[in-house]
Point group: C2
DNA sequence: ATAGCCATGTTAAACGTTTTCCCAACAACT
DNA sequence: AGTTGTTGGGAAAACGTTTAACATGGCTAT
């Protein structure tokens, strides 16, 4: 409510001086400084950011465009962005496209995704955001907008496919390598893989990383022990049967849901996971700590992804040029639970 | 980038007229209207919302303060708010306090919650939000701020405990009544309850609703069959043993996690849920559709809560006075899954 | 004494809008 | 012809800031 004008009247000093005090600028005696600050507190002063941003043309605000806020990983990423903003005195505004959740009553029902994204982008640019962090998998829609709208993007969670747009993603390959190392260290040599969809880069990179680790340990890679699923529970169940029949002692499922399918199968057949069979999933969803036995899995660096994305964006804004790297790969960590408890040394 | 000034130069008409066209105000010939709109499109015009908000003193923007964005229900509520905003041409900005998640590296580590909330509120008010929707359980912190900061709150997900702050919550009592009705309709008369914490209003209201339904069906309420837990899985396991020993044919757990504990116990003891015992949880977390057997549960009207809260807030803004109601109670729905599949008519 | 300098303040323009008030032109009445 | 009303449009102030440019009044060094 109170403005610098009122502070100026209250203290008998000009508004320019008040502004200087409020922005920690030099050229003000400590006396006036004190009286201005006192008046500001007394009047319950709060800067009008609209005025400030209008004048400066900068908002110190990042726009976040998320495809779906209710998808499990998005809030974790937003958390990381938020902390980075706090640390560097930035703000953010969050836009939620709600892709895949648009029902009949929704104003956006039936619209094209690219139009929705463009509208949201326009709105954010209208608020003078300094850059946009995009969380989603439609980077092909995003890419052309960077030039057209003269703004800056950072893509999170997907390859940007555009050399001018940095992306921040987790390292599938290294994660799979870690998984393999863990299983190998426990004595497993016949390891089945229930992979994700065949054309996915997640799948491919995880397979590559896994093979690298096998190679390092002189264990031959047997393609017969890799099944391609579609991220669904049923496929975990189905392929568990095949792989166990083929004699594997461990299974790496490319997500937790398929791993749960494996658990279903084993529980039904009396196979004891953690003892007869080692099992490890991917994603560290809530279910992996709730299922029985609890599931070892790969935890995604959600917070770091968000934090890094924000850092990259702010550096771009500061230096006004592309960052030195185009891709920021962040490491995952393995969460060990009951499903990888035992080794096979007893055999 | 382009401003109304440039449009005015481009079309040869004054900026006042341009503004009128852009805001659909009368007093402009359709000719000039067309030429202005054409120029706007050509120049890729986008209104500067900072300027607009500065001038009008209104931002058509709601502030959302969430205690923790990564808690499962918050994004669903934000979804509802977002859709309401779209429908009524509003915007929102989201603040995430991250209570309970502040580690050493966090700028807010060690600060008092009320200070953090106050700061976030100040920031939002600095952006001239028209009102604040608070999602969390610290309404006692919120209440004094409404007067002090001269703003408007709507509380979501908690009783506001202040007659001047409307709250939007789901109806625990009715939900429990529905649960009881369902179980009774399946023939159950000896129903155990694994309740939540003893002092919680959730617990109390659910017990009241449950008792009402029992009364309606002339079934006596046996307090011995109600155990008070603390929302944790272990208590589900523990009390399942007691209740089953006491001869119940159905259990109503006050959250899904405790229900999972019941499942643990039954799986271990060979009790078949859905046949030997009916089980129903509360919250409809992801786990309830993943566990085996799948769990019937009470789904919270997250979207509606958000949508209603936003509607209430906008009406307050529009009419500039308290809404007729102080409390908005929204109904839950029951999701039936395997754990309540059978009746006990066979007995 | 004069020039130069520093420390402290002030004036005023500008940011991009909205909005009130006014003006001109013209038509339609007495 | 004079009054009135209507319609399309413009001038200018205002919103609350920031900031460049300028003013003042010592002080120091010549």
């Amino acid at each position: 409510m109170a403005t610098i004008k009122e502070i100026s009247e209250c203290t008998g000093v000009s508004i320019a001086t008040v502004s200087k005090v409020l922005n920690d600028q030099p050229g003000v005696s400590s006396e006036t400084q004190k009286s201005v600050l006192a008046a500001a507190k007394k009047l319950n002063y709060r800067p009008n950011l609209n005025a400030r941003h209008l004048k400066t043309g900068m908002s110190r605000t990042l726009g976040i465009i998320a495809e779906d806020l209710t998808v499990f990983n998005t809030p974790g990423i937003v958390d990381g962005i938020g902390v980075c903003c706090e640390q560097r005195n930035y703000h953010y505004i969050l836009g939620n496209l709600r892709f895949n959740k648009l029902f009949g009553h929704d104003p956006n029902y039936g619209r094209r995704k690219s139009d929705m994204l463009t509208d949201m982008l326009d709105e954010m640019l209208s608020k003078q955001v300094d850059g946009i962090i995009y969380i989603g998998c439609h980077s092909h829609i995003v890419a052309p907008l960077q030039k057209q709208k003269e703004t800056r993007f950072v893509c999170v969670y997907c390859y940007s496919e555009d050399p001018d747009i940095p992306d921040v993603i987790y390292d599938d390959r290294e994660a799979a390598r870690k998984v393999a190392e863990l299983l190998i260290s426990k004595g497993h040599r016949e390891i089945g893989i229930i992979a994700g969809a065949k054309d996915s880069y997640h799948t491919n990179n995880r397979l590559l990383g896994f093979q690298e680790a096998l190679f390092d340990h002189n264990i031959p890679y047997n393609p017969r022990l890799t099944c391609y699923g579609a991220w669904e529970r049923d496929q975990g169940y189905e392929y568990a049967s095949d792989l166990i029949a083929a004699g594997v002692t461990a299974i790496f499922a490319h997500n937790d849901l398929m791993a749960i399918g494996v658990i279903d199968y084993c529980n039904q057949k009396g196979i004891e996971i953690g003892k007869d069979l080692a099992l490890i999933g991917f994603d560290d969803r809530e279910i992996s700590s709730v299922c029985r036995p609890t599931l070892s899995t790969v935890a995604l660096p959600l917070f770091d992804i968000g934090h890094t994305a924000a850092t990259v964006m702010m550096d771009i804004i500061k230096d006004n040029q592309k960052p030195e790297k185009h891709e920021f790969l962040l490491g995952c960590s393995i969460v060990e639970r009951e499903s990888t408890a035992g080794g096979i040394e007893g055999k």
